[in-house]
């Protein structure tokens, strides 16, 4: 028999803390909290209307469709995949409901059918990605066009309108006589559920495992294909749910509803620290980043910055969100070998970002002064 011994000092310690004190504060979520505070501060200085409860309430419901689609998107991105078809699926489901409504079908039956169609759309993605093993990017790029096409097929150039009030409650109503919109309450409730599933269940752990090493996860007897199928199906369901909420909020449906929102959804997830290569991320981070984007867009809106121009700030922030951690990592990993290329780009982006705001500050101040 072997006679070797193991030096005691190297045996592992069960009671070591999971994360060091320092690591806790290095979490990306703190960065987001900081940015949110800065943004709230700036917005408050800029306009007295910012903290108006009605304003906040109305704006927050604008972001709930993005939020609802973001929840399953976080799952999908964590497994290292992507779903580009969500916004098209949303448009398709909402249009299908509009079509049925125009044909005189009961609104609840129509809504149920739309949810079913959206779920089927998710299942088709899931089937092609997990069973046929086609690349997710291509599959969902295809269904992105396909589902949007179906939306136009259902409604043509028409809009469907005239939904009953009982239905529009889901987009316009408030819960319990408060100012909290129903859609916000629904999102918060689902976000907690999705967060718990991601971080506290075996299913969530499997998502991280797949994203970090799909092969080894498969070798460990985890039903990888089934899990992928489930999350794409879930994504389809949530996209159609978002479609219904949007229809209820507008009180009408057009086939181009939600065009381009898939990018906002992915932006929110990635800015929230979900690694686009899979394997890393948290639901809290994604939620915070949605809040940050919402507050920034709201604040910029109050500053009369057009929605399209707001993209400058959001885009910069997204690139910064992946640049800064890479610079920090290169500094802490090597001690002195800073990756100059990323450090310089980070600085450049930061500068543009600041200049952008200084410019609008200044222009707005000029407007106020002139009035």
């Amino acid at each position: 028999m072997s006679t070797h011994t193991v030096s005691e000092s190297n045996l592992i310690n069960e009671y070591a803390p999971k994360r060091s004190f320092l690591a806790f504060f290095q979490r990306w979520e703190w960065m987001l909290v900081g940015l949110i505070l800065v943004d709230v501060f700036i917005n408050m200085r800029l306009t007295p209307y910012f903290l108006d409860a009605r304003n906040l309430s109305r704006t927050s419901s604008d972001f709930m469709e993005i939020g609802l689609m973001m929840l399953p998107m976080v799952f999908i991105i964590i497994t290292g995949n992507i779903d580009l078809s969500v916004a098209s699926n949303m448009g398709m489901s909402a249009s299908f409901m509009g079509l049925l409504h125009n044909m005189g079908v009961n609104i609840w039956v129509a809504a149920g059918a739309a949810l079913l169609l959206g779920t089927l759309g998710g299942m088709l993605n899931g089937y092609l990605v997990s069973k046929v093993k086609l690349p997710a990017l291509v599959v969902t790029l295809g269904t992105y066009a396909f589902y949007r096409g179906l939306a136009y097929g259902f409604l043509g150039d028409q809009a469907a309108r005239g939904y009953p009030e009982a239905f529009t409650y889901f987009g316009q109503g408030k819960v319990f006589q408060t100012l909290i919109p129903f859609s916000v309450a629904l999102f918060l409730f689902l976000a907690v559920i999705f967060g718990l599933v991601l971080h506290r269940t075996t299913f969530g752990r499997y998502l991280f495992s797949i994203g970090n090493n799909e092969n080894a996860t498969n070798y460990s007897g985890i039903p990888v294909a089934k899990i992928k199928f489930i999350i794409y199906t879930l994504s389809g369901f949530m996209a159609s749910l978002a479609g219904l909420i949007l229809a209820a909020r507008f009180g009408s449906t057009r086939p181009d509803n939600g065009t381009g929102l898939e990018l906002a959804v992915i932006t929110a997830a990635v800015l929230g620290g979900v690694d686009i290569n899979g394997g890393k991320g948290s639901m809290l981070g994604a939620g915070l980043s949605l809040l940050l984007i919402g507050l920034m867009r709201f604040g910029m809106g109050l500053m009369n910055i057009q929605g399209q121009v707001q993209g400058i700030a959001i885009g910069m922030l997204l690139i910064l969100s992946i640049l800064i951690p890479s610079v920090v990592r290169s500094i802490s990993a090597t001690g002195k070998n800073i990756n100059w290329r990323s450090a310089i780009s980070a600085l450049a982006f930061l500068l543009i970002f600041i200049l952008f705001f200084v410019f609008f500050f200044w222009s707005r101040a000029a407007v106020i002064a002139s009035v």
């Binding site: 028999m1 072997s2 006679t3 070797h4 011994t5 193991v6 190297n10 045996l11 592992i12 310690n13 069960e14 070591a16 999971k18 994360r19 506290r200 269940t201 075996t202 299913f203 752990r205 499997y206 991280f208 495992s209 970090n212 090493n213 092969n215 080894a216 996860t217 498969n218 070798y219 460990s220 007897g221 985890i222 039903p223 394997g279 890393k280 802490s332 990993a333 070998n337």
Partner: protein
């Protein structure tokens, strides 16, 4: 002038506060093969990376031809004639041999076009001078590992490398390929190239190397002439303790047949594979790399299901089409490639160990953190895993400790049949002995073990019976008493049929 072409003095390197090299000294003469020996985690790879400028030392000096130098990156070290060939080869799969040799430095004709004629002529001359025969227009993707290594060596010499560092170049080569490689290395040595050679196979060092530097736990131990040391000396220096028996297989009376495979086949990889595996038995599976042994294991485990044939487990015929099913039937498979199939390198030790049994630590799907932590900690402790704590990422551990984690993970599924694919490849001597002792213990407790190994001493020492595969089918079957190195090699390399199963 000094007699050394390269000299490292008092190299110290820390990673996030942890010292991985401590005052290490190393010297290299022109025209010598200098082996670097140590267990995994001893600091060999880090030392090599300091020599090539991948890492910069925190303390210590590097002298090249007696002159003080420092390398900011690998480009600088390459310019000074230091080339390294790592375990993970770095050729461009869609470029051909000649393009790979001169990639980034293609000879240019007028107008900045690539001078293809000169490129192929230069590549041909270079390969000829190295005595390597390769088709210049073959794509790297279709080359064997051995041929890819030759291309990397040629690439190193196309930039006039005077120092060639080879990190475990033989770990995935067949015997003939190793012989070819050694012939080339000897030739380079005669021409005055200094070679740093890392290998875990002691036999190879005695065959090839002139001097050996031994490292342990990040520190320099000793440098010796190989003709003055014995195998036992090296092991003692390397592990700092004596390992009396590398292959401690105890005799166990075999029990009932638990796994029976009949005429198993998978189109394109193996055919007509039949054998029986009994309780308490270790069945060795020998053969060359690519003989189809791993494919058989994957078929039994359901990763790449068989297309024909029968599998019986404990007398019952089963069709295994997924690893889940295999695990339910009491099978466990420790794969050949730890990084790719065995582990999730970017996840903590605890999550790695609990992955196949995670449902056990959950109530209605909700994870019970404390139960999981306790169970995985116990499993890691039992395997004597060395790590800071169970939250440490698997990728931060040495190969030996990673293998212990893979073993802990699979043993926690309480398998009846354990398939081990190259269980000790690339792990240090100490861990190797521990793995062998564990296998022996498991067998004595009634586990049936199928062991795929390319190391003949391991096959001969551990197996109760030996199967040999060649080109996708079983060519021989020996009892422990019958099996010899010569018989196995001949069955693995040419068509020999002895008493088939």
């Amino acid at each position: 002038m000094t007699e050394y072409i390269l000299e490292l003095k008092n190299m110290t390197k820390r990673f996030s506060g942890v010292e991985v090299l401590h005052e290490v000294c190393f010297s290299l003469r022109p025209g010598e093969v200098h082996a670097l020996l140590g267990e995994n985690g001893a600091g060999k790879s880090t030392l090599v990376k300091v020599m090539t400028g991948v890492h910069q030392p925190d303390k210590g000096e590097i002298y090249l031809d007696g002159k003080f130098v420092s390398f900011a990156d690998t480009r600088e070290s390459r310019q000074m004639g230091i080339a390294a060939i790592y375990q993970e080869l770095s050729l461009f799969p869609d470029l051909d041999v000649a393009e790979n040799i001169f990639v980034g430095r293609q000879p240019l004709a007028a107008g900045g076009r690539i001078d293809w004629r000169k490129l192929y002529a230069d590549a041909g001359n270079l390969l000829e001078s190295l005595g390597v025969r390769l088709d210049l227009k073959q794509k790297a993707r279709s080359l064997s590992i051995a041929q890819q290594q030759m291309v990397e060596i040629a690439r190193a010499f196309s930039i006039n490398a005077r120092i060639l560092i080879m990190d475990e170049p033989t770990s995935s080569l067949t015997l003939n390929e190793v012989a070819d490689l050694f012939r080339l290395v000897r030739r380079l040595r005669e021409e005055g190239t200094a070679i740093v050679f890392i290998s875990h196979r002691l036999e190879e060092l005695f065959e090839l190397a002139d001097r050996v530097t031994i490292m342990r736990d990040g520190s320099y131990v000793d440098t010796r002439l190989l003709k003055d040391v014995t195998r036992d000396d090296l092991i003692r220096l390397m592990v700092g303790r004596t390992i009396t028996d590398l292959f401690p297989k105890q005799d166990v009376k075999s029990g009932e047949v638990v796994l029976k495979v009949e005429n198993l086949a998978r189109a394109g990889s193996f055919r007509d594979v039949s054998f029986e595996l009994r309780q308490g038995e270790i069945l060795g599976m020998a053969g060359l790399v690519g003989a189809g042994r791993t494919n058989v294991a994957r078929a039994i485990f359901g990763v790449e299901p068989a297309t024909a044939g029968k599998i019986q487990i404990a007398g019952r015929e089963v069709a295994i089409t997924s690893p889940q099913q295999a695990i339910k039937l009491g099978l466990a498979y420790v794969p050949e490639d730890r990084q790719l199939h065995g582990l999730i390198p970017a996840m903590p030790i605890t999550s790695n160990i609990s992955l196949p049994t995670l449902f056990k630590y959950a109530q209605r799907g909700w994870l019970q953190d404390k139960v999981e932590r306790k169970a995985t900690y116990d499993a890691a402790l039992q395997m004597e895993v060395r790590a800071n704590n169970i939250w440490q990422m698997a990728r931060e551990l040495s190969g030996g400790n990673q293998q212990k984690i893979v073993l802990a993970k699979w043993l926690s599924t309480k398998p009846r049949i354990l398939i081990l694919d190259e269980p000790t490849r690339g792990i240090d001597v100490g861990t190797k002995a521990a793995v062998h002792a564990l296998m022996s213990k498991l067998a004595s407790e009634g586990m049936a073990i199928l062991m795929i190994s390319s190391e003949l001493p391991e096959i001969l020492g551990m197996s109760d019976r030996v199967l040999v595969m060649r080109e996708g089918h079983i060519t021989a079957h020996f009892s422990r008493a019958e099996a010899t190195q010569e018989k196995i090699i001949s069955a693995a390399t040419q068509a020999v049929t002895s008493g088939s199963v």
